[in-house]
C-alpha cells in the first residue's frame, strides 16, 4: 500500500513538472514558427522584405490571391478619364462606367492587399525590440514608409477607414471594423513619413529612402493644403542627386535609372516575382481581352500637350486599329511584333518594375506647391521646374506663366497611366467637374459619390453592423 502511494506521488510530481509550456507548445526544430522568429536583425529584415512583397502582390489569375499594386490601375486610372476596358465587359468595366458594385472583386482585393501591407508593417514594428540599435531605425523607417503609403492610397480611395497601427487579435472587431475619420488617418500618415524621412538614408530605390519618404510626404501635404511644407520637402528631394532621364523612354525601359525614386521590383519569368499588368494592357495577351486602353479624351490631351512623350506613351493597337494601347510598360520591353501579341518571353510573367515615385513627379509637385492653391504663378522657381519637364518632351518654348490648368494638363501627359490622374483631379478640386463631363460625353453614370469606392461588401458583412457603406452604394 505504501509503495503505491509513493508511486502515485512520483507520477504526480512527474506530471506537474511536465506541464510547462514547452511540453505542450514545443518550439519546432525543423520549421520556422512565428513565436520565435524575428529575434535578430537578419530575421527582421526578412520581415521588411515581406512588406515590399505584399506591395508587389501575387501574379495570379485568381482574386483569392492578394494582387497588390498589380491591380491598382483598375481602381485609379480606369476611374479617371485616361483609360477604360477595350470591350466594356465584366467587373472591370464597372470602373469606367461609374457603376462599381460593393461586391466588385477588384475593389475587395485592393483593400485586402493594402491592409496586408499594413499588417506586415505592424508586424515588423512589433518586433523592433529584437533589432540591434544600429538597424532598428532603418527597419522602423521602412515599415512606417510602407504603412503610410498603404494608408495614403486607401484613404484617398475609400474615405474613412479602420485605423490599425499595431498587431490586433482576432477578437478586436471594434478596431478592425470601426471607420475613423480621414483626419485621423492623415495624422498617422504624416507622423509615419516624418519618422521615415528623418531616419532613412538615400541610395536605394527598391526600398524606402529618405527622398521617397520626403516626396510622398510632399504629396500628402499638397493633398492637405500645406503648401510651404510641401515646397520645403520637394526642394530637399530636388537637391538629393536625382535627375530627369534625357530620353523619356529610358525612364521605363532602363531599370534603375536616376529618375526613379521608389519602385516595386519585378523579375521576368518567375511566377512568384513577376507581374501581369504589362500583358493585361494588350490585346488578348493576358487573361483579359484588354484593359487600361486609352480613352479618346486622353489621346486628345496627348495630341495637344504630349510633345515627344506621345509616341512613347501610346500606340494604335496593331490587332485592332480603332483602339489605342499604353506603351509605357510593354512586357519586358518587347513590342509584340506585327500583331502586337508575339513575344519571345512569357508576357504574363513580365519583369517591368512599377515606378511609384519619380523625379518628374517631384518637379511638378514643386510647381504645385508654389502655385499654392492659386490660379496662376510666374515665380521663377516654379517656371524652372516646369521648363525641365517641357524641355525633355521637346516643348522648348520658354514658359512665362503657369496656370492651374496648365499644370494639370502637364501632369496628365507626363504621368499618364502611372495611376496619378484620379488623385490629381481630386487634389486639384476639379474631379467632379471633369469626370461629370467625361461621363456625359461617353454615356457613363458618374455621380459625386463615385469619387470614393465602396467599402468591400465582404468587410461590411464581417463587421456585423460596425461598418457603414459609403453613400451612393
Amino acid at each position: 500500500m505504501k509503495t503505491i502511494k509513493y508511486i502515485a506521488l512520483a507520477f504526480l510530481i512527474g506530471f506537474t513538472g511536465a506541464c510547462e509550456k514547452d511540453f505542450l507548445e514545443p518550439t519546432p526544430e525543423s520549421a520556422i514558427s512565428s513565436i520565435e522568429y524575428f529575434s535578430n536583425d537578419d530575421e527582421i529584415e526578412t520581415g521588411v522584405i515581406g512588406i515590399y512583397d505584399a506591395m508587389q502582390g501575387i501574379n495570379s489569375t485568381s482574386l483569392n490571391d492578394n494582387r497588390g499594386i498589380q491591380i491598382e490601375y483598375y481602381v485609379t486610372e480606369m476611374r479617371s478619364d485616361n483609360t477604360r476596358t477595350k470591350s466594356q465587359e465584366g467587373e472591370a468595366a464597372q470602373f469606367e462606367q461609374y457603376n462599381v458594385s460593393s461586391a466588385n472583386g477588384l475593389v475587395q482585393n485592393y483593400y485586402r492587399s493594402f491592409y496586408n501591407v499594413i499588417y506586415r508593417a505592424n508586424l515588423v514594428l512589433d518586433k523592433l525590440e529584437n533589432a540591434s540599435e544600429a538597424m532598428a531605425p532603418q527597419f522602423e523607417g521602412e515599415a512606417k514608409f510602407a504603412r503610410a503609403q498603404a494608408y495614403f492610397n486607401l484613404v484617398r480611395l475609400y474615405g474613412d477607414i479602420p485605423l490599425i497601427d499595431r498587431i490586433i487579435g482576432p477578437l478586436e472587431n471594434d478596431v478592425a471594423f470601426t471607420r475613423v475619420s480621414t483626419t485621423e488617418i492623415y495624422e498617422l500618415i504624416v507622423s509615419d513619413l516624418e519618422f521615415a524621412a528623418d531616419n532613412l538614408g538615400n541610395g536605394e530605390f527598391y526600398r524606402a529612402s529618405r527622398a521617397a519618404a520626403q516626396a510622398l510626404l510632399a504629396k500628402v501635404h499638397l493633398t492637405l493644403g500645406n503648401y510651404t511644407d510641401a515646397q520645403v520637402l520637394c526642394e530637399s528631394v530636388l537637391s538629393s542627386g536625382f535627375s530627369l532621364e534625357p530620353n523619356f523612354s529610358d525612364v521605363f525601359y532602363n531599370e534603375g535609372n536616376n529618375e526613379v525614386i521608389f519602385a516595386i521590383a519585378y523579375n521576368p519569368g518567375v511566377e512568384t516575382d513577376s507581374q501581369d499588368f504589362s500583358a493585361e494592357w494588350l490585346n488578348g495577351v493576358g487573361r483579359t481581352v484588354g484593359v487600361n486602353y486609352v480613352t479618346d479624351e486622353a489621346i486628345a490631351a496627348f495630341d495637344e500637350f504630349g510633345g515627344d512623350r506621345t509616341a512613347l506613351s501610346i500606340r494604335t493597337d496593331p490587332a485592332q486599329p480603332t483602339q489605342t494601347q499604353v506603351t509605357k510598360y510593354l512586357p519586358n520591353g518587347e513590342d509584340g511584333g506585327a500583331d502586337g501579341k508575339t513575344f519571345s518571353t512569357d508576357a504574363t510573367l513580365s519583369g517591368n518594375d512599377w515606378i511609384v515615385i519619380r523625379y518628374a513627379d517631384v518637379l511638378l509637385m514643386h510647381v504645385e506647391s508654389i502655385l499654392a492653391g492659386g490660379q496662376e504663378t510666374s515665380a521663377a522657381a516654379a517656371l524652372a521646374s516646369f521648363q525641365q519637364i517641357r524641355d525633355r518632351a521637346g516643348l522648348t518654348d520658354p514658359v512665362t506663366s503657369i496656370s492651374k490648368t496648365d499644370l494639370l494638363n502637364e501632369r496628365r501627359v507626363e504621368l499618364a497611366f502611372e495611376n496619378h490622374r484620379l488623385f490629381d483631379l481630386l487634389r486639384f478640386g476639379v474631379a467632379q467637374e471633369v469626370l461629370s463631363e467625361f461621363s456625359n460625353n461617353n454615356g457613363y453614370s458618374f455621380g459625386a459619390t463615385d469619387l470614393l469606392l465602396p467599402i468591400p461588401q465582404s468587410e461590411i458583412n464581417l463587421s456585423k453592423g460596425l461598418m457603414n457603406q459609403n453613400p451612393g452604394y
Binding site: 503648401y227 467632379q432 459625386a448 457603406q469
Partner: protein, 283 residues
C-alpha cells in the same frame, strides 16, 4: 336515403360556394406581414465653389438610400438632378436645402448655408521689422529701448547711438571688435515672393572694415547655419564719410519660407545701421 344524399350534396355545394366567395375577404391586417422601412433615406451634400466663376457652385450629393432629390438653392432656383450646379446672382449667404426621398415616400432633409464671396487675390504680406529705426518706445505697445527686438545668443547686445543717425533720434551701433550682433526672426512674409529690404549704414574711417546684413529664410539656432539659410546678404564697405549714411536696397525671393530673419554683423571698424524696412516688389 336518396333525398338525404341529394340534400347533403346540395348543402355541400352551397357551402363550397359560400366558402369560396368568403375567400374574397381581406385578411391582411395593417402592418401584418410587412416590415418597416429599415433603410430610410439620409440626405447629405457638400458644395464646392468653381475656380473660374466664383458665383458657380457644384453640389455633390452624398445622400444614401434615396431615389429622388429636391434641391432648393436658397436663391429661388431649384433642381431635381442628383449632382446639380447653381449660379448665384450675387455675393451673400444662401440656405441650401436638399430633400431626399425613397420609393416608399420616406424623406430626409439636409440644410446647409453657402456663403458666396469673391475670393480675394492674395496680396503679398507687408513685413513688419520691429524697432527697424532703433527708436525708444517704438514697439507696437509703445514700449521698448530701440534694441529689444534685436537681442540674441549669437553675440553681445548692440549699442545705441544718437549721432550720427539717418533719421529720428537713434541708430544702432556696432563697435570695431565685431562682437555685437543684431538678430531678429519671425518676420512674416508671403512665400515665393520678391521683396526689397532697404537700410542705411555708415562706417568709421580709421581702419578698413565692413558691416554685413543678411536675410535668412526661417531662422537659425547657430551662426554655422547662416550659409545654408541665406536668401541675400550685402557686405557694406563704403568708408567715404563716417557721418554720411549709405542707402542699400537688396532684393530677394522668399522661396519656401513663411518667415524670414535679419542678421547684422560687422568687422574691423565701428559701424552704424539705421531705418531697416522691407516691402514686396510691386508687380
Amino acid at each position: 336515403m336518396k333525398t338525404t344524399k341529394l340534400l347533403t350534396a346540395v348543402l355541400t355545394l352551397i357551402g363550397t360556394i359560400v366558402l369560396t366567395s368568403s375567400c374574397d375577404f381581406d385578411y391582411d391586417l395593417p402592418e401584418e406581414g410587412s416590415i418597416p422601412d429599415e433603410t430610410p433615406p439620409s440626405a447629405n451634400f457638400s458644395a464646392a465653389q468653381s475656380d473660374t466663376d466664383f458665383l458657380l457652385y457644384n453640389f455633390a450629393n452624398l445622400s444614401s438610400s434615396a431615389t429622388t432629390y429636391e434641391w432648393d438653392f436658397g436663391d429661388g432656383n431649384t433642381s431635381a438632378e442628383i449632382d446639380p450646379s447653381n449660379t448665384y446672382p450675387d455675393e451673400g449667404t444662401y440656405t441650401v436645402n436638399l430633400t431626399a426621398s425613397d420609393a416608399l415616400g420616406a424623406t430626409s432633409t439636409f440644410t446647409m448655408d453657402v456663403t458666396v464671396v469673391e475670393p480675394e487675390v492674395p496680396e503679398a504680406i507687408v513685413p513688419v521689422v520691429l524697432e527697424g529705426d532703433f527708436e525708444d518706445n517704438s514697439l507696437p505697445d509703445g514700449s521698448g529701448d530701440g534694441r529689444d527686438s534685436w537681442r540674441n545668443d549669437f553675440g553681445g547686445v548692440i549699442q545705441i547711438t544718437s549721432s550720427p543717425v539717418q533719421s529720428g533720434d537713434q541708430a544702432s551701433k556696432y563697435p570695431s571688435d565685431g562682437d555685437r550682433v543684431a538678430y531678429q526672426e519671425g518676420i512674416a512674409v508671403t512665400p515665393n515672393t520678391d521683396y526689397i529690404i532697404t537700410y542705411y549704414y555708415t562706417l568709421k574711417t580709421n581702419n578698413p572694415g565692413s558691416v554685413t546684413l543678411t536675410v535668412l529664410g526661417g531662422g537659425i539656432t547657430d551662426l554655422s547655419e547662416v550659409e545654408s539659410k541665406k536668401l541675400v546678404d550685402l557686405v557694406g564697405m563704403d568708408q567715404a564719410d563716417a557721418d554720411t549714411y549709405t542707402k542699400v536696397d537688396l532684393s530677394f525671393n522668399t522661396g519656401a519660407n513663411a518667415t524670414v530673419a535679419i542678421l547684422i554683423t560687422n568687422e574691423g571698424e565701428e559701424a552704424r545701421v539705421d531705418n531697416i524696412s522691407m516691402a514686396p516688389v510691386p508687380e
